[in-house]
């Protein structure tokens, strides 16, 4: 089990400057922010070397609270900004946090191409099943039938499975955790961040204010209990019967493969370019 670092987390927050934070009581985003910090501490990364970027939304407000190099970008584009950061200075450790709408709807094109390129960065997709900040409209991850402020008769469209999508697009490390299973989340984040290549972690997180209220789960405790009861680990699932797995969401690491990383390949390309141009001269 991972060591507990509680007293140290504060050293990684801009606590004098930016608190209290914007998140609602019962929101899960703060919990996973703690997990991110603990993973960084465990990896012994220096604050100066870490860049945390984000798009727009509740999740994307996170960087301002963190004492790293922080970049709050435009809606959906965080990974494109991160790509530029990493290209400009490959020694930086780049972590991008996004909500589900940010990452998968407006940012859908960017996330699949970032996965395809396989640049050594980590993306954290906080899935709370809706657009929290703008008042609870449906997102690409809203479950069928769920009520949101723009699906008053229930969600009609099918939703994305973030992990399937990312595996298909070529991410080299794909995992899912929840803010209920926080020790497990610490470990998953650490594995994702130390992975050489593009890693994606989907984190299930409750949004009691916007999503919960519309779906008879206004109590944050109920939502946390659902995360406990409705999810099983990949390992547990192997021992379970098919009918018991019905309706369960899997947690854990789904993909962890070694593929040549973008910037390493780019170095080789530079070498080829140098040779070719010298030949022509």
């Amino acid at each position: 089990m991972m060591a507990v670092h509680l007293p140290y987390e504060h050293k990684y927050l801009r606590h004098k400057k930016k608190f209290p934070h914007v998140w609602c009581p019962g929101c899960g985003i703060g919990i996973l922010m703690g997990s991110i910090i603990r993973a960084i501490i465990d990896l012994d990364w220096k604050k100066d070397d870490v860049v945390v970027s984000s798009g727009i939304g509740c999740t994307s407000r996170m960087p301002v609270y963190l004492d790293f190099n922080t970049l709050h970008t435009t809606h959906g584009r965080a990974l494109a900004f991160s790509t530029g950061v990493k290209l400009a200075n490959p020694t930086l450790k780049v972590i991008t946090v996004m909500g589900d709408g940010d990452a998968l709807a407006i940012g859908g094109n960017h996330i699949i191409h970032t996965a395809r390129r396989n640049m050594d960065m980590t993306a954290i997709v906080v899935n709370n099943n809706n657009y929290g900040m703008t008042g609870g409209q449906f997102s690409p991850t809203t479950p069928e039938g769920a009520r949101t402020s723009t699906t008053p008769y229930g969600m009609m469209e099918p939703n994305f499975d973030v992990c399937d999508l990312m595996s298909g697009a070529g991410a080299t490390f794909v995992a899912r955790g929840t803010v209920y299973h926080v020790m497990e989340l610490d470990r998953i984040f650490k594995r994702a961040m130390e992975k050489k290549g593009f890693s994606v972690v989907e984190v299930l997180s409750p949004c009691p204010t916007s999503f919960g209220r519309a779906n008879n789960q206004a109590d944050p405790v109920d939502m946390m209990e659902s995360l406990r009861d409705d999810t099983v680990t990949v390992k547990q699932a192997t021992k379970m019967k098919q009918q018991d797995l019905e309706g369960k969401i899997l947690r854990g690491i789904f993909r962890d493969v070694d593929v040549p990383e973008y910037l390493d390949r780019y170095e080789e390309l530079c070498q080829r370019a140098r040779e070719r141009l010298e030949m022509n001269q």
Partner: protein, 380 residues
Amino acid sequence: MIVPWGEEELVQGNEAIAMGAIASEIDLFAGYPITPSSEIAEILSRYLPALGKKWIQMEDEIASISAIIGGSLAGAKAMTATSGPGFSLMQEGLGYACMTEVPIVIVNVMRAGPSTGLPTQAAQGDVMQARWGTHGDHPVIAMVPCSVRECFDLTVRAFNLAECFRTPVLLLADEIVGHMRERIAFPGEDEVEIKCQPEPDVPIEWYEHYHPTASNVSPMARFGTGYRFHVTGLTHDAHGFPTRKVEEVMAKLGRLKHKITRRLDELEDVRLHGLEDSKVVIFAYGSVYRSALAAQQILAEEGMKVGVFRPVTIWPFPDVTAKKYLDDKEVVIVPELNQGQIIHEVERVTLDAVRIVPVQRIDGYQITPEQIVEQIGEVV
């Protein structure tokens, strides 16, 4: 040697832009293919890796501009190149870069629109988009080259201005200038001045990413240098943290405006020909300026004196200089490859007594000297 310093060569406008970027020590190019700008990306894809610099083709133009903003924040001199439809997509990032005061260079090789329009033909239809295309308002810097040599020179100047003003700078070429080939003399390497935004020298705990200074531009730290700072498109205070306090909001927006409007002399760049003793002036920019000069020549041979006023820096508009030289004229002819964009600026700054006459063309072809001569003949 990739830039043929001090030599004469036959090069294309887009190629000269790529050479200008290399001369400016570009570290990162991110772009998306679009006619008629693609040669810039293609040429840079050939040379930047060999120089150990970064080149990437992104998934679209929004990603391209986002990547160069991220790159600039992490220490790269960064550029993208596009044309009208891509430029529209880049407005989001352009506004973000203005707000967050990130130096980048955006080349727009203008083609005829609206929409997909005439992709292989020239226009000057994005002049107002360059000025007002983003949401919210803020000043911008934009320059318009008229020749291959200027494609080189103004690209270098665009990088320098972006650094000195900590803001995006636009180069508005057009399809004619971008695709034309001219034999040009490249300057010597020592003749080209490369400017960089100074790094902060204050202790880390004192650093403010948007420190108020007399010039309204402050030294800029980059990610990874130990100065940890926050960047957001939300209206922010001197540290970069979001704010809604009226005095901080006004300070920020005031600085954004004044860093440009109070240094107009550094930005203004006009070419004036025979304005003193002429009652008629042709006000032209970009490739159309070449037709204006030819028209002036034709009329001179016929014994008529006509002046030519050309803004090289189109934004900010040279209000004071234009007024000074145009207010006592009878007629100002404004030829443009659009349905009337800069003509409104000329009208805005000149006295009502000055007659402003358009010559416009939107079929993708250049305005000819004869068209300008004919128009002058009709009105004078």
